[in-house]
């Protein structure tokens, strides 16, 4: 996979920009970045625009990140899209819930570009 189409889901537009910058700093070539402010918006965006990678917060209004990942797992066309959580929720309970629901990675905020590289590159088939 060369260029990546990424979906960044976070209710903070500032954090969406920081995540996008971190992906570029990690060495990913981004063909397109789609943004969503919550899980419901993210589901609608996926229906319109196919993506290769999803970075998702947990605490969001309307539909939180865990519900989004669980719902995503039930959508046939979305199965196989890797999801990496990026969140302030650092408890083991949240990590287990996210990974059980189908997330492929988990990054706690605050995060360094190195952590993004370590957790994101392997799920898109690149060496970290």
């Amino acid at each position: 996979m060369d260029k990546i189409r990424a979906l960044i889901v976070d209710d903070s537009s500032v954090m969406r920009k920081i995540v996008e910058r971190s992906l570029r700093q990690a060495g990913l070539e981004l063909e397109k970045v789609v943004e969503a402010g919550n899980g419901a918006e993210a589901l609608a965006a996926i229906g319109k625009d196919p993506v290769d990678l999803i970075l998702c917060d947990i605490n969001m209004p309307v539909m939180d990140g865990l519900e989004f990942v669980r719902t995503l797992a039930t959508i046939e066309s979305a199965k196989g899209i890797p999801v990496v959580m990026i969140t302030t929720e650092g408890s083991e309970n949240h990590v287990v819930q996210a990974l059980s629901a189908g997330a492929r990675g988990y990054i706690r905020k605050p995060f360094t570009p190195e952590q993004v590289k370590e957790h994101v590159l392997p799920v898109v088939g690149k060496k970290s």
């Binding site: 903070s12 500032v14 920081i18 302030t88 929720e89 083991e92 309970n93």
Partner: protein, 161 residues
């Protein structure tokens, strides 16, 4: 010492101020690329022109606030985002809210036993100093002031007993 190890009891028995200070220092260093250290609260009085708030609910209940003046809030946003994209007040508020959110999350993640027992609200940001905040948090209050670019930034945690 009480045998009750609940977080509410521990907040009264343990000194959590160094934990809060470390949580603040890490967020500033990792996300803003700058080192901050606590300074004397008697000598530095932060403005409340910009106030970000995040609620804590569950085993640890209360509110965490971050206060600073308008110019400092703008500089914080520039540090997070870069100089070209932190011009609007909306982005400045969003950035301060996220800083508050990350400090709250980092703090609770450092407390042994808080694992999965405490939830955070989405951030709220108030602009302007003409307000009075009544919190139902009636327990411990921790406060630290950090200097950012020479200007004071206050981080306050008010807990429900």
């Amino acid at each position: 010492m009480s045998t009750d190890t609940s977080l509410a009891v521990r907040s009264q028995e343990e000194n959590w101020l160094p934990v809060l200070e470390l949580a603040v220092e890490e967020v500033f260093e990792i996300m803003l690329g700058c080192r901050v250290k606590p300074v004397s609260q008697a000598e530095h009085h932060p403005s409340t022109e910009f106030t970000a708030m995040v609620g804590l609910a569950g085993a640890l209940c209360g509110i965490l606030t971050v206060c600073c003046d308008k110019e400092t809030a703008r500089e914080l946003a520039k540090c997070m985002l870069g100089p070209e994209i932190a011009d609007s007040e909306e982005e400045v508020s969003d950035a301060l809210g996220e800083i508050c959110n990350m400090i709250a999350g980092n703090f609770k993640n450092k407390l042994a036993g808080a694992d999965g027992q405490c939830m955070l609200s989405v951030p709220t940001v108030i602009k302007g100093e003409e307000y009075t905040c009544y919190s139902l948090a009636d327990g411990e209050q921790l406060e630290t002031v950090m200097l950012f670019g020479g200007a004071p930034v206050a981080v306050r945690l008010q807990l429900h007993s």
